[in-house]
Amino acid sequence: MRKLLSAYRLLIAVALTVVSAVAHAQLSIEITGAGASRFPVAIPVFENEGSLPRGVTDVVRADLERSGLFSLVDMGLAAFPVTAVPDMASIRGRGADAVLTGSVFQQGDGRYEVRFRLFDTQKQTELGGLSMRMAPAQNRAIGHKIADFVYEKLTGQPGYFSTRIAYVVKSGPTATPRYELQIADADGMNAAAALASREPIISPAWAPDGQRLAYVSFEAKKPVVYVHTLATGQRQVVANFKGSNSAPAWAPDGQRLAVVLTKDGQSQLYVLNADGSGVRRLATSPGIDTEPAWSPDGEWIYFTSDRGGSPQIYRTSSSGGSAQRVSFEGSYNVTPRPSADGTSLAFITRNNGRFQVAIMDLATRQTTILTDSARDESPSFAPNGRMILYATDSGGRGVLAAVSSDGRVKQRLSVQAADVREPSWGPQSR
């Protein structure tokens, strides 16, 4: 019987592997709100792009348009070779304040060279350009790089189109659900499962190197913290103490993690090395302390605590010491996540029974609610601080959504027939 059972399990395991190879439904992104004044930019098709199996220009256009900060000015099919300075007055006459021109050159070795230049049609000046060599399959990666270049030149902030996101997809029957920790490009393409499990996975957190993720998996029938190297699939248990182990947060140095352990009583904050060694208690409180997040300078750890009777946001020095309360309005403020420049804090607030994404200016402590939904969770800043990715609910199904830090630009990311939750936006690629 036992033998039969394990043979059956093996069969299931094989079946699962096959399924995982084909069933990676892509995240589809829908824009539900745009910036008030969008920057008009012309991106004519790169000259000789037809020599590439899959184009680059469409990737650039889609990235910029999805950001909500740009509107595309149609230039028809006219060729704008990179070797020539375009007629900026006429382009400006069609309403574009900037134009991106580019050409594709086929190399002898099956590779391609893409050259592009960006012009300001108002000042009639060139803003810069680049030349990049690529294999045909790299059209999306190159397109994201070009979109990052344009975004940075025109907004003054780094783009986020070459970054990756992590999230958890729950699918299958209620009695035997399947959980996948998926990694995708920031535009939802190229989704791949880093981990597949029959048990829940929560709280993925990107290491600052963008190569590793910490997360909580329940595969041992209890929450255990793992660190997972994406390229190799190598996993290491970093916290599996008696009780629950959860809420991993990377220190900016990538060497340490803050975690929540219950080994000495209720949920409390600890810091340990990324290999699981050197555990030390960070704070001692009479209530729950959870959801730690480091400030980008490594000085502070923001966290949620109910020590004052209701869950509120506090911060403590990362070297220990007393905690300061950060949130005061309302009776439920949780999941603090500082922006990469350390000036603002995204979090979830309960507002008339609805859980919504809020942002706090840390200098003035002024708080703004950014969403009008009711079941928002797990906010996560884009590396440049312009967008906040979060989980919410749409018709009873978990979806991801993104909102700009000024609340104007709104997007929804969903996977058909599955629940998507626990998003985490990866760091800027270096």
């Binding site: 209620t174 209890k222 209720q266 729950i288 949620t304 969770e377 270096r430």
Partner: protein, 179 residues
């Protein structure tokens, strides 16, 4: 096999991709590096399948006529106190643990789905801890029992109604071999 292939594929792609010198690039322009120009996220990710735990029981623990087959302690909203109606159940399990000192127990605390997953994990822990404390006060050894939380991740009932939420605020007792 898959695990080996993927990194090899990735490094081939990376080798096939490099930036040449920039042209017309003013100072402070966007840098293009090799690492970020892989063929996308999918290429750099190897899929791992997590193992599932086995599960089996002991006759007395699964006999529906025996109180020991009942394993759930339900809690009121925002409460971490064991209600009187569950005292006989907790007492029976404490007695079983005292009489079977080699048996171990895992108590899984649960919370309803409203609010943050990690905060709900902490609330589920408080419920599991309440059951653990009651059992140890009744004579079970600390070393026999581990209390953990599943937070809102394993709801017994999945509708967004108050009746459903109530079923999800509970502590479940599992014995050796069942976890």
């Amino acid at each position: 096999m898959k695990k080996v292939l993927v990194p090899v594929l990735l490094s081939t792609l990376l080798a096939a991709c490099s930036s040449t010198g920039t042209f017309d690039q003013p100072a402070g322009g966007a840098a293009v590096d090799e690492r970020s120009q892989g063929a996308g996220a999918g290429a750099g990710v190897a899929t791992v399948t997590a193992p599932s735990a086995a599960g089996s029981g002991i006759a007395a623990l699964t006999d529906p006529k025996n109180i020991l087959s009942k394993r759930s302690v339900m809690f009121d909203f925002d409460s971490y106190v064991i209600n009187d109606e569950f005292r006989p159940l907790v007492e029976a399990h404490a007695k079983f643990l005292v009489q079977n000192p080699t048996m171990k127990m895992l108590i899984q605390g649960n919370a309803d789905e409203r609010g943050s997953r990690e905060y709900n994990l902490a609330l589920g822990q408080k419920r599991a801890d309440a059951v653990r404390k009651a059992l140890t006060l009744l004579g079970a050894k600390e070393s026999q029992i581990e209390s953990v939380s599943l937070g809102e991740e394993k709801p017994r009932c999945t509708e967004a109604t108050e009746a459903c939420f109530a079923q999800n605020r509970r502590g479940d007792m599992l014995y050796s071999g069942e976890f």
